[in-house]
């Protein structure tokens, strides 16, 4: 049975709708914690989405390839420097007046916080499903992430690894008594994690934003003025959308089809 109203877009137009939905989503932010090798990392992150290419797959998949995620990260590494702790033993020098001894001196190093700011972008490919809801008198159609197929971080991990190394060196310079141990400390710390760990950290942050990601491609009042009031004798003509469905229909080209009954 044919619906009262049918609206369809091909993949070209679906891209237009998706990109508008990405812009409408705006900037999303979150914070959390993760790890970088043996070190704890807390982060706050803000991302925005843009681009990507839509492929429509019947009966209900909107595949998006190359979805760009621009992110800004504020990382704080927590590095326990206790591995540098040392003690100068008590040393006594015999003299005619008796032994002169130095006190035993122990140096303990604190746990330092190393802030790192970093911005870059990733490209994600994933499959989204269609979700139609009637909420608070409005019909809403979202495309909702079903699975992330690929995350391309580009050269971000390498750049972030370098940025972290630089930040650690700067932070260590401010640690009292570390002078002679600076090179040793930097070497030990940066050897504790590598590109794989940084890549894992970035992927984890990106996945936080991908989880539950949804783009709103349709929102419409269930009852709306199809024609606005036009004068004293022409009140608004209200129409109610009793039902709305969305699907991908396959033919000689796949289309995203929205159907509604008045």
């Amino acid at each position: 049975m044919t619906s009262d109203l049918v609206a369809a877009v091909d993949e070209t137009a679906a891209n237009v709708l998706l990109h508008a939905a990405e812009a409408a989503l705006g900037t999303r932010s979150t914070s959390g914690s993760s790890s970088l090798g043996p070190f704890g990392v807390s982060y706050s992150a803000a991302v925005s989405f843009s681009g990507g290419t839509v492929r429509l797959v019947a009966p209900g998949t909107v595949a998006i390839d190359g979805l760009r995620i621009d992110y800004s990260l504020s990382l704080t590494l927590s590095i326990d420097l206790s591995f540098l702790d040392f003690c100068l033993p008590r040393i006594c020098i015999p003299t005619p007046f008796g032994d002169i001894c130095t006190p035993k001196i122990c140096i303990t190093f604190p746990t330092i916080s190393v802030p790192v700011s970093f911005s870059d972008h990733a490209k994600v490919s994933g499959d989204f499903g269609l979700d139609v809801t009637l909420s608070s008198g409005e019909w809403v159609v979202d495309v909702v992430i079903q699975q992330v197929r690929a995350i391309d971080l580009g050269t971000a991990a390498t750049l972030l690894l370098t940025a972290i190394g630089t930040a650690i060196s700067v932070a260590l310079l401010a640690v009292p008594f570390i002078g002679p141990l600076l090179a040793l400390a930097v070497g030990i710390i940066t050897a504790a994690f590598g590109i794989a760990e940084v890549t894992g950290l970035l992927a984890a942050v990106v996945n936080v934003f991908m989880a539950g990601l949804r783009f709103e491609v349709y929102r419409h009042a269930q009852t709306f003025a199809a024609l606005p009031a036009g004068g004293p004798f022409d009140p608004a003509v209200d129409v109610t959308l009793a039902s709305v469905t969305a699907e991908v229909q396959a033919s000689d080209e796949n289309e995203l089809v929205l159907s509604a009954d008045i």
Binding site: D4, V6, A7, A8, V9, A13, A226, D238
Partner: protein
Amino acid sequence: MSLTQAHHAFAAVSQEGLNEALAAFFSARPHYLHYGSPPFVVASSVTTTLIDPIPFPNTPGGISWAVDFSVPAVDLFPADGALPPPLTLVAGQLALATTVDLTIGCRLSEDPKGRVVPLRTALPVVAVGHPVSRFFSPGVGDISFTVDAVSAQGVAPGSLEALLECLVRMMLNAFLEDVRLPFDLIDAGFFKLALEEGPLVADDQITLRGDVS
């Protein structure tokens, strides 16, 4: 064949959807169906449209009259059944059935007060027409309807039938010009349509095609 064909966007309203929309329109604005002069219509309102009586010599106050249409029922090509001859429905056309109540105030003979009594006849008519569109900018446009021919059955002589058919066609076109269905209704607000093709009538629906922005 895809819905969008060589275009990027497609919108359609089915015959049932169109009749629902027309019912909503005339329910909200019934004055488009009801016209007349006093005493049948005393003031313009949401429900009626006041028009002067027909002036005529030596008829004080003129000839009072009223015309009332039932909510038109639209049948989109292909026709659901046979149309009254000579009407036929071809691709791109729609049929429209309504009943026209024609009323005149018949002046009582020799009544010194000039009182009138209503004389009324109900005339079932079927019309054939086509949709027309206006497009102003993406998402801003509408479709309306133009009647091409009317058939009023059972009227004799033939010259009276032709007269009534012409009269009803003019009146239908006059008020249908104000019955406009915006693109936003037909595409359910899914996108802002930049019209490139249509409105077309086929398979019991009116279709629009174009691009989105």
